[in-house]
């Protein structure tokens, strides 16, 4: 989603204090850290719900307004409000919602009458998550690989190609790339092969349906990670210990993997956390262009039709996923950089 921008967290690597901790106390500290962070999610979620709830009700228009045709009469709107609990004062609706959320009851959708929001999200999320996880599996090797190669061969042709690609990936919007793919690998390929083959242009399936959406979804983050990896690797390359490693005559493989890559990972891991959260909560544009029945599309449809319970539930879901992703990143630091201590 747009509000979960990639990057943003400062690296925690700048903690030079080195303490020798016995494994058990280190494990305990980690558990304490995780527990504390999970508890912190409660007030965070409260404010997310409060803000979303307020903004949502401030937005003009009611869920029962129609874009065209006969409008519902005032008394029917009243009946609908009664049916969906909108007849109560706003603060009561808010408290009731909070109470229900603690019971994992996210209410009924207005747009899809009679269906619970939870059921709609549960049926939509697998599509989104599949695309997101697959895209992530493309982004990590492709982004890091491109970045490292570019840095190791700085100012070479490979570097220029890699960086040219990432500039393109970072600057061309998703919907342009998506539409371009559809025209080239859908329509044009269909015409060239005389109607025998083309990539499917819409829908979800565990086959060649996945190619275009996953590549489109992966393009921007891959470009971003490649640039980040290149910068970070170049930084490490200039470190004394790397020069020492080369001087000792260590093999290139060992120097790159053990001394360079591992040390350049901190900023990359920082960026990958929110990227993962962003991917598995769905891209509005990719899901709309390729007609994936995922939660990115649900969110947009919910906003345009003022489907309040759906808007709230998707926002809560995004917040939880982002919070968890950030938590995982923080825990990963411990394993990547032994200097990092969790407080």
């Amino acid at each position: 989603m747009a509000n979960t921008a990639i990057g943003g967290r400062p690296a925690r690597g700048a903690l030079p204090v080195r303490r020798l901790l016995a494994p058990s106390s280190r494990g305990a500290a980690l558990a304490l850290f995780v527990a504390r962070r999970v508890l912190w999610m409660v007030p965070v979620l409260f404010f997310v719900i409060l803000i979303t709830f307020t903004l949502m009700h401030l937005a003009p228009g009611s869920p029962w307004d129609k874009a065209g045709g006969r409008q519902l009469s005032a008394s029917i709107v009243e009946n609908l409000n009664t049916r969906y609990g909108l007849d109560k004062p706003i603060w009561q609706q808010f408290l009731l919602y909070l109470w229900n959320v603690t019971h994992f009851d996210f209410g009924l959708s207005y747009q899809y009458q009679g269906r619970t929001v939870s059921a709609l999200l549960v049926s939509a999320w697998p599509y989104t998550a599949t695309l997101g996880v697959l895209a992530f599996c493309v982004i990590v090797p492709a982004g890091i690989g491109l970045g490292v190669v570019a840095a190791l061969r700085q100012n070479s042709r490979i570097d220029y190609i890699a960086m040219g690609f990432s500039t393109f990936g970072a600057s061309v919007p998703n919907f342009v790339v998506g539409m371009l793919f559809i025209i080239v690998f859908g329509v044009m390929l269909y015409n060239i092969t005389g109607g025998n083959y083309s990539l499917p242009v819409s829908g979800f399936g565990l086959d060649d349906h996945l190619i275009m959406p996953v590549v489109t979804l992966a393009l921007l983050p891959t470009a971003f990670i490649a640039r980040l990896t290149r910068a970070s690797t170049l930084d490490i390359l200039r470190q004394d210990y790397v020069r020492t490693a080369w001087a000792k005559g260590l093999s290139e493989r060992l120097v790159v993997l053990k001394h360079i890559l591992k040390n350049s990972l901190i900023p990359i891991v920082t960026a990958l956390g929110p990227t993962f959260a962003f991917l598995v909560t769905g891209s509005v544009i990719v899901e709309t262009v390729f007609v994936i029945p995922g939660i990115g599309r649900s969110f947009v449809e919910a906003v345009t039709s003022r489907d309040y319970p759906m808007i709230l539930a998707t926002t809560v879901l995004f917040s939880v996923v982002v919070a968890i992703a950030n938590l995982v990143v923080d825990v990963l630091y411990v394993f990547i950089d032994p200097r990092v201590r969790l407080t």
Partner: protein, 565 residues
């Protein structure tokens, strides 16, 4: 008792009244496994319960899984039998007796009885469910229905006593009787709407986990959440449904009229017009509503252009002037604005020649259409300027106004053109104010606008009664957004609506239409047409002017087949 003869002359009507049928029965049918029709329906229905569906794209599913008593004939001149074999109207016009088919069966093979119709209509009319199509079609016509809006929906006994007081009864298994509150010659059309269907009490209650009070809307709709419990009396049944992706229909083997020829109908829910267009071009769709941006692409493509089909719809579009603001309260000013829009240029250049110019209210193809009535609003910049002068209004006086516009590409381009026309022809600088759709609706409901459009009306059914009430003073701020004061109009429309014979009410409607146009209540601009791509192997498709843009011909899918290709 007057019996209205209903026969199987639908085909005749098709030819006589300009119905729109593709191909012919001479073509050879493809093998059964190729009898598949793949269509983009744009967006999912909000519910699989037809009584809750309020748009025709939603009714795509409802119309095929269930069947109402009657259905419009192909020429839209009258109704023809559907689930009812025939019907009688009492001489006072108050009692409609529908004779149900004795061979009608539900998709699970059980016979359809009159009690199912009473149950279905009561489900639809339950005020707690607040179905969008009840008011005004049903609550204003059925005896005992008028209290619909005032029922206390938190009280089961209040709801039950309202429902039991409705003029619906089943004297025997094959007779369904509806008593009306007042004679309404158009009720036959109301009975042909997709919301007026029978329902199975046992299935609804089983899905709800037993009998439930009428206040419990969640239980009342539980059956509609599972495609398996959508057991209808229609010619198709749902075989699978993936929300936001697709829904598949297969023939119901127990349909009284014999199984349809199509073995499968797949509705895709693709909201992005460009993606849908690509899907058609890669051979994965058989019908497609062409987005306006792609009309030229189709016309220039030697193959696609041959598959294009343009059909007019019974819908008219117009610009609404807020008569609560000076000088828009002056009919001459409204006329001047209406006379300074070059509709030919608009439809040709902006709407790519798909829609047609119109200066009157009732669209072409419907009883009541009369282009000569539109002359007062005809494009004539010189006369428009004179009218402004006569009203003592300058172009500068109009420049304070804004043109409220919904944020869709189509609306924006139309309104930019119209704004430019007012600039060129009147010298008035009326800026386009683009706002998101929900905000627009909320503003026009409160009268917070100067000029708004394009707004329009599409026929729910092809009877003039469906049209004129939207401009009565009672509809001020509900459909009559401009709230123009037209003395005598309300009485005229009311008289026409409650007049029994067509020959008596048509002149009344004509008078009302003349008044609408002469006072420029709104400025009529174009009649909508749909530009669709249809594969040449889709045979026997009968398209009418009330079909949805995405699903032309769906009233007559029973006879559609795929020819060898």
């Amino acid at each position: 008792m007057r019996t209205i003869a209903l026969g199987a002359f639908a085909v005749l009507a098709t030819f006589a009244c300009g119905g729109n049928t593709t191909g012919g029965s001479s073509a050879q049918a493809a093998p059964a496994d190729q009898q598949v029709l793949r269509i983009n329906d744009g967006t999912d229905p909000n519910s699989l319960d037809p009584t809750q569906q309020t748009y025709t794209y939603e009714a795509a599913v409802g119309r095929l899984t269930f069947q109402p008593l009657l259905q419009p004939n192909a020429g839209l001149t009258d109704v023809q039998p559907a689930a009812a074999q025939s019907y009688d109207v009492s001489s006072d016009g108050l009692t409609y007796t529908f004779h149900l088919r004795s061979d009608a069966k539900w998709a699970d093979g059980k016979p359809v009885v009159a009690a199912d119709w009473v149950y279905g209509w009561k489900h639809f009319l339950n005020p707690a469910l607040a179905a969008g199509y009840v008011d005004p079609f049903f609550d204003q016509t059925i005896a005992g229905g008028s209290g619909y809006s005032d029922v206390d929906v938190k009280s089961a006994s209040a709801i039950d006593s309202y429902l039991n007081g409705l003029g619906l009864s089943a004297p025997d298994d094959h007779t369904f009787v509806v008593k009306l509150a007042a004679p309404a010659g158009y009720f036959k059309w109301v009975a042909s709407l997709w919301v007026a269907i029978p329902l199975r009490k046992d299935i609804v209650e089983q899905a709800a986990g037993g009998a439930f009070p009428s206040t419990d809307t969640t239980k009342a709709e539980a059956w509609a959440n599972d495609p398996k419990t959508i057991v209808g009396n229609g010619m198709f049944k749902i075989s699978d449904y993936t929300a936001k992706d697709h829904l598949t229909l297969v023939p119901s083997s127990s349909y009284w009229g014999g199984a349809p020829k199509l073995q499968k109908i797949i509705y895709y829910f693709i909201s992005d017009g460009n993606t849908a267009f690509a899907k058609y071009r890669t051979g994965d769709l058989d019908m497609l509503n062409v987005p306006i941006a792609n009309v030229d692409v189709v016309r220039q493509d030697p193959q696609l252009s041959k598959q294009a089909k343009l059909y007019p719809k019974l819908s008219t579009f117009w610009m609404t002037y807020n008569a609560k603001e000076t000088p828009l309260d002056n009919a001459d000013v409204r006329l001047a604005l209406s006379k300074s829009i070059d509709r030919d240029k608009l439809t040709k250049d902006v709407l790519k020649g798909t829609d047609t110019p119109i200066q009157s209210f009732i669209p072409k193809g419907m009883n009541g259409y009369d282009s000569s009535l539109g002359d007062p609003q005809k494009f004539d910049p010189a006369a428009a300027k004179q009218l402004l002068q006569k009203a003592g209004v300058t172009a500068a006086d109009l420049s304070k106004f804004k043109l409220l516009t919904r944020d869709t590409t189509g609306n924006k381009t139309v309104n930019q053109f119209i704004s430019q026309q007012w600039q060129d022809n009147l010298g008035a600088n009326i800026a386009v104010d683009v706002v998101d759709s929900k905000t627009v609706t909320s503003r026009i409901r409160k009268g917070q606008f100067d000029i708004y459009g394009p707004d329009g009306w599409g026929a729910d059914y092809p009877d003039q009664q469906d049209w004129f009430d939207i401009f009565t003073s009672a509809a001020c701020h509900s459909l009559n957004w401009g709230c123009v004061n037209m003395p005598g109009y309300d009485a005229l429309v009311q008289k026409a609506d409650s007049t029994k014979s067509d020959s008596d009410r048509n002149p009344l409607y004509k008078q009302a239409q003349k008044q609408l146009i002469d006072t420029a209540n709104v400025g009529f601009i174009y009649q909508q047409a749909e530009y669709n791509l249809i594969r040449p192997y889709v045979q026997n498709l009968t398209i009418t002017g009330i079909d949805d843009q995405y699903i032309p011909g769906d009233l007559y899918y029973h006879d559609v087949f795929i020819s060898k290709h």
